[in-house]
C-alpha cells in the first residue's frame, strides 16, 4: 500500500486535496468568458442596461444643475458637500445638482429600482448559465476540484462579466446623454458642468455593477458547487 510517511493518522495514504490559488480559477474563468462570448454577452447585458440607465440618470442630473447655473446663477442649487457619504455614493451629489425637487425624488427611486432589477436579472442569468453547466461542474469535481474552487470560478466569471458590462454600460449611458445635450443645447452648457461629480459617478457605477454581479452569483455558485457529482453528471441539457 502506498502510505506516505508524515501524514497524521494514515487513511491508507489518502491526503487532503490542496487549495488552488485564485489565479488558476481566474485563468479558467477568463477563458470561459472569451470562448463563450455570446453567452457572456447575454449574461452581461442585464448589468449593461441597468448601469447605462444609472449613468443616464446621473448625467441628466448634472446637466440640469449646469442648466440652472447657465440660466440664473443666483437661483442655482448648491450641490451637496463632498463628505464621506457623497464620495462613496457620488450619485447623491449628482442628484442634488438637479434644482427640480420632484425630479430629484423620482430619479432617486429610479436608481434604486434599476439596481434591484439588475441584481435579480444577474441572479437569474447566472442561475441559467450555471444550470447549463452542471455537467461540466460535475466533471470538474470528479477530476479533483474542491467546492470552493467551483464557487471561486463562478464568482470570478460573474464579476468579470459584470465589470465588462458595467464599463460598457456606464460609458455608453454617459456618452449618449452628453452627445444629446451637446446637440440640444450646445457647448455652453458644459462650461458649468460638474465633470468631477460625473466621473465619480462613472467609477461608482462600474464598481457597483461589478459588486452586484458578484453578489448575485453567490447563491447560484454555492448551489452548483454543493451538488454531489453524481447528481450534477446526471443532468441532461
Amino acid at each position: 500500500m502506498a502510505s506516505e510517511a508524515g501524514q497524521p493518522p494514515s487513511k491508507g495514504g489518502i491526503q487532503r486535496q490542496i487549495k488552488l490559488p485564485l489565479r488558476q480559477a481566474f485563468k479558467i474563468s477568463l477563458r470561459n468568458i472569451t470562448i463563450r462570448l455570446g453567452r457572456a454577452a447575454i449574461t452581461a447585458s442585464g448589468t449593461f442596461l441597468s448601469i447605462a440607465f444609472l449613468m443616464v440618470v446621473c448625467t441628466q442630473a448634472v446637466a440640469m444643475g449646469a442648466m440652472a447655473i447657465a440660466q440664473n446663477p443666483e437661483q442655482a442649487r448648491p450641490p451637496a458637500e463632498w463628505t464621506v457619504k457623497t464620495v462613496l455614493f457620488p450619485i447623491i451629489r449628482a442628484l442634488s445638482l438637479n434644482p427640480d425637487e420632484i425630479m430629484r425624488a423620482r430619479s432617486a427611486w429610479l436608481v434604486v429600482m434599476s439596481l434591484l432589477v439588475c441584481t435579480v436579472g444577474i441572479t437569474n442569468s447566472m442561475l441559467m448559465s450555471v444550470t447549463e453547466r452542471f455537467r461540466e461542474i460535475g466533471t470538474m469535481k470528479c477530476l479533483g476540484a474542491l467546492d470552493r474552487f467551483i464557487v471561486n470560478l463562478l464568482l470570478i466569471e460573474s464579476g468579470l462579466m459584470g465589470l465588462l458590462g458595467s464599463l460598457a454600460g456606464s460609458v455608453l449611458g454617459m456618452g449618449v446623454m452628453v452627445v444629446w445635450y451637446r446637440l440640444q443645447i450646445g457647448t455652453r452648457l458644459f462650461a458649468h458642468f460638474d465633470w468631477l461629480t460625473l466621473f465619480a459617478c462613472l467609477i461608482f457605477s462600474v464598481v457597483i455593477g461589478t459588486l452586484l454581479s458578484i453578489v448575485a452569483a453567490i447563491l447560484p455558485a454555492i448551489r452548483a458547487a454543493k451538488l454531489p457529482p453524481a447528481a450534477a453528471l446526471r443532468t441532461e441539457i
Partner: protein
Amino acid sequence: MATEMVQEYIVRTRDLTKQYQLGDQTVYALRDVKLDIRRGEYISIMGPSGSGKSTLFNMIGGLDKPTSGTVFIDEVDMAQLDAFELAWLRCRKIGYIFQTFNLIPVMTALENVTLPMIFAGMSSDEMLEKGVKLLETVGLGERLHHKPAQLSGGQQQRVAIARSLANDPAIVLADEPTGNLDLRTGKEIIELLRRLNKEQGVTIISATHDLKMIDVSDRVIWIRDGRIERIENREDIELRLGEVEGEEE
C-alpha cells in the same frame, strides 16, 4: 484461507445498498452488493439498462453516498473521508471515463488532459510534458490543440482516457465507455483500455452492456435489479455466451 488474507483488494464493498425515493415508491438501485476487486484486475460489470451499473460506478467512485453499506478503497472506508480527502481521492486515486465523454468543451485536448494535474498542483512544464505523453499513448499526438467539437467520438473518448490517467490513478472507472461509439471504434477503445491495464497495471472497472468487453475482462460481474447475479472468470464465460445473448434486451 491464508492466501485470501494477503490478497490485496483495491476495492471492496459490503452490504452496499442505494435506494431512491420516488414519491411513495422506493426504488432499490443497489441491494446488498458485496464485491472484492483485486489490484490490477480488469473487471466488467454487465447488466441490462437500469440494473444499477451507473449507481455502482458512482458509489465506488465516491460520486454519491450509499444509503447503507460500505465502500473500501485500499481498505479505507470511504464514508470516513472528509470533503478534502474525497477530492484528493477523486483527483489522484481514481480516473473516470463516461459514456458521454464529458470533456470540457471550451478546452483543447491537451488542456482537458492537464486539468486534473492543475488540481493536483503540478507545475506547468511537468504538466505539458505529461499531457503530451498521455495523448501520444492514446494515439492523439497530432490532435493536442483540437477542441472536443473538432474530434470524433472515438477520439474524444481517447482524450477522456488520457485524462483519466493524468495523475497515475490506481483505479480507472468507466461507465459504458463504448456506449456512444460504433462497433469498430468501441472495439479500439476496449483494446486501448486492455493495453493500459496490462502495461500500467491500473485496475479497470467498467460498467457496460457491450459483450465485446467480455473478451478482455479478467472477471465479469453480472448484475440485475441491483443485485449481483453471478461473478465469473473469463474462461468460464465463453461456454455460456449463447444463453447470455438471449438475456439481453
